[in-house]
């Protein structure tokens, strides 16, 4: 543990000794947490949302009374398996790079006649937003175990990677935080919460490749949009719009960095 402390040289030995002792107590806590998470893996309440999402995918709904079974998530109309690990990507019909949730909203508007902007403006966990989360859980579950491989063939996809990188390092707000303040180095933690380093490959099979995930602390299912939204809230930033360019650019940056990581979504998180 690098100790960039302004410690008088004489006290250095003491500090290192203490760091050792602290590290030892720390190891048992970390093992304890790992054991706790292991016990929760079997029987992840995310399964409830996956089942709800599957029903919503097939059910005829909305003003056009249609299902989502012909929605193109990037691998062809109605193809669900493998779609999650290649998102965000560029879509010709909307001429935009979209992530899973913003793409689902586009399909809900085009196929079912829902008002996409109204859904995007609905607070998380309410109305159709809740359904978008369940749909995203269903789509993600179909790619469990597959490896991330976001396409970077289209110039817009490469541009979004670069924009996402700059957004990732953008420091601001009363705390001067950026995403990198917490997710820029290996082996860092907030309290007992391990922080994946999202700046380099394999990026992280536990961070980007875990959401949507069920959060035990509040018993809610969270997609990546809500995960980024709440990160910015704790970064003391203003409110990032659902599906806004910043959130999709971050998805491209983290997704490309996670290339080759195995998706564990929908996961179970603190």
């Amino acid at each position: 543990m690098r100790r960039g402390l302004l410690v008088r040289p004489g006290a250095w030995a003491m500090a290192t000794l203490l760091a050792g002792a602290a590290a030892q107590a720390q190891k048992n806590t970390a093992d304890g947490i790992a054991e706790y998470r292991k016990m929760l893996e079997d029987g992840n309440p995310a399964d409830l949302f996956e089942a709800k999402g599957e029903a919503l995918w097939k059910q005829k709904r909305g003003p056009k009374n249609a299902s989502l079974e012909s929605c193109d998530l990037g691998k062809g109309p109605g193809v669900v398996k493998g779609a999650f690990v290649e998102l965000p990507r560029y879509f010709a019909d909307t001429a935009k790079v979209q992530d899973l949730e913003s793409r689902l909203v586009s399909c809900m508007q085009a196929l079912q006649g829902f008002d996409g902007a109204a859904i995007a403006g609905t607070p998380f966990g309410r109305g159709e937003q809740d359904n978008v989360t369940a749909l995203a859980t269903y789509v993600a579950a179909a790619s469990r175990g597959l490896r991330f491989s976001l396409p970077q063939g289209h110039p817009e996809e490469r541009r979004l990677y670069e924009v996402g990188k700059r957004v990732f390092y953008f420091r601001g707000g009363p705390y001067d935080f950026s995403c990198a303040s917490c997710h820029g180095e290996d082996g860092k933690r907030i309290r007992l919460q391990d922080l994946p380093n999202l700046t380099k490959n394999p990026g992280d099979g536990v961070g980007f490749a875990a959401w949507p995930a069920y959060r035990v602390s509040n018993g809610q299912m969270w997609g990546m949009q809500l995960r980024l939204n709440d990160c910015y809230r704790q970064q003391r930033f203003p409110y990032p719009g659902f599906g806004s360019e910043v959130t999709v650019a971050l998805g491209v940056y983290m997704g490309v960095n996670a290339k080759g990581a195995e998706s564990i979504a929908p996961a179970i998180k603190r």
């Binding site: 079997d42 029987g43 309440p45 399964d47 409830l48 089942a51 709800k52 069920y214 035990v216 018993g219």
Partner: protein, 103 residues
Amino acid sequence: MADPMRIRAQAQGDKAVVRVLMSHEMETGQRKDSAGKTIPAWFIQEVTASLNGSPVLTAQWGTAVSKNPFMQFTIRGAKAGDKVSVSWVDNRGDKRTDEATVA
């Protein structure tokens, strides 16, 4: 009407291990909403299970059982193809019953 339960029943020898996930808020009655008003208690009080129609399990739960509850139990003398049904009743009298086949 709450969302359906997820029931997985796995035959193991002459027994069946049953894992159940129920969709329920399980409010303790101790929480306050953002406006500071106490959210009333709303939780599953009684869970029953049966194998091919005959009762095998009765359980009573308090407010300490977690949200979207998980439960696991093992039924004796069950084999693949048998029907396991699980029911719950909450303190408002809402009910839900779902069934699964032992795999």
